[in-house]
């Protein structure tokens, strides 16, 4: 029984990984979801709703850098079709789109050395966050 469950789990995991590799839409959603949950934590700290933790701030920046690295490859030609809010403007302005990822990566990297305590977090983090809206403004459809 235990073995059957294990096998089933392994198969499920395998399918999941396979999906991510073959399905750029699913893969980029995962990356963005990770950003979203890291950002949720960061915003709580920015507002003072949750206590500041340096490692959480740095983890959020790490998540953004990760997204900036993986991002461009996750939007191959033709992946505007399917369950996605990616706008065709991405492929019409590929260079600019990728420059947005590069800026996100560079800003996050700079912030991860500049942020050392709560004061520097509150001063520096919001400008990193501007990258999210700046890119979604141009390249993502409004959702319901």
């Amino acid at each position: 029984m235990r073995r059957a469950v294990l096998t089933a789990l392994t198969v499920l995991l395998g399918v999941g990984a396979g999906l991510a590799a073959d399905d750029p839409i699913a893969a980029r959603k995962e990356v963005m979801k990770a950003n979203g949950s890291a950002t949720k934590t960061a915003i709580g700290m920015l507002k003072g709703a949750t206590p500041f933790k340096l490692e959480d701030a740095l983890a959020a920046l790490k998540s953004y850098m990760d997204a900036a690295d993986k991002g461009p490859a996750l939007f191959p030609e033709g992946s505007d079709k399917g369950d996605t809010k990616a706008l065709p403007t991405i492929w019409a302005n590929k260079k600019d789109f990728e420059a947005h990822f590069a800026k996100l990566g560079a800003d996050s990297k700079a912030a991860s050395t500049a942020i050392t305590d709560e004061a520097s977090f509150k001063a520096k983090f919001p400008s990193v966050l501007k990258n999210c809206g700046d890119c979604h403004e141009l390249y993502r459809a409004k959702d319901q």
């Binding site: 979203g36 915003i43 966050l129 809206g133 979604h136 390249y139 409004k142 959702d143 319901q144």
Partner: protein
């Protein structure tokens, strides 16, 4: 013969009624008088950001250079935001400006297409409009003229806009709402903020459906849908969540606002925090 004459009479009456209904009216004389007094450009700057003028009339990287030119896609065709810098409106009087804001009529007495949100702006107080005009006059003069709208027949007939106004323009006396009033949030939402222009669904003629105000709608440019921002739609959002979204640009789940809302967040960033709180309070409570 008699029947024919009767038919002709009806047709003439119909044409006459159409002509009357669709004729651009004159500016309310009281507003015209009020506009003659000098405005406060400093206060006008706040109206400018609340009104989101830059979103259409300027590029994101130079929000106070109002040279226009941005293409606005609508279901009826493409319209280009005009130059409203002191150069573009060089010959406009304060009264011309008020006529555009309240009645959607330009300096030559022609109808403006309602892509310019005068159906919302007409809720604004005369003091705010006067201050806004004073502020606009302090901005840099930018050269250039926007291309003519690319509307197909029959939407290219400006006179028809008169019919649209007759059907849809809300009958409101210019608001007397002032900063700090309980109703100030509603004023910002319905007037300068013109939230309903994207968040209220429209009928096939492009008229807002009043009893579905702010319940969310397809974006005019076709890029997705705007969400329901009525108290029911925001049931899971606290007032603080709404303020965070409007100031930092993030939803409670950590996702950022995108599309046209990114620009709105940039604009609202110039307003006093209390104004944003008033907007959030109104959206959350509905009144």
């Amino acid at each position: 013969m008699k029947a024919l004459l009767a038919l002709l009479a009806v047709a003439l009456l119909g044409a006459g009624a159409f002509w009357l209904v669709t004729a651009p009216g004159a500016l309310d004389p009281e507003i015209a008088r009020a506009m003659a007094a000098p405005g406060d450009a400093g206060k006008g700057e706040m109206v400018f950001w609340a009104g989101g003028c830059s979103s259409c009339h300027a590029r994101p990287d130079a929000p106070t250079e109002l040279g226009g030119g941005a293409a606005l896609k609508t279901p009826f065709g493409v319209i280009y935001a005009p130059n409203i810098s002191p150069e573009g409106l060089a010959h406009w009087t304060p009264q011309d400006f008020a006529h555009a804001i309240y009645d959607g009529v330009d300096d030559e007495g022609a109808h403006l297409f309602p892509a310019f949100p005068y159906a919302s702006y007409r809720h604004m107080s005369v003091v705010d409009v006067r201050d806004l005009w004073a502020f606009l006059r302090t901005l840099p003069a930018v050269k250039g003229e926007a291309p003519a709208p690319e509307f197909g027949f029959p939407f290219n007939i400006r006179r028809l806009v008169g019919g649209w106004k007759w059907l849809y323009l809300p009958h409101v006396a210019p608001s007397q709402t002032a900063v700090g009033d309980v109703d100030y949030g509603r004023y910002l939402v319905e007037g300068p903020g013109h939230c309903g222009e994207c968040h209220t669904p429209r009928d096939p003629l492009g008229g807002p459906i009043a009893d579905k105000a702010l319940t969310g709608a397809p974006m005019p440019d076709g890029k997705g849908k705007s969400p329901n921002i009525t108290p029911a739609g925001l049931a899971k959002w606290s007032q603080d969540d709404i303020e965070t979204a409007l100031t930092l640009g993030f939803k409670p789940d950590g996702d950022s606002l995108g599309g046209a809302m990114a620009e709105v967040v940039r604009n609202l960033g110039h307003l006093p925090r209390g104004d944003v709180a008033a907007i959030a309070r109104y959206l959350k409570s509905g009144g």
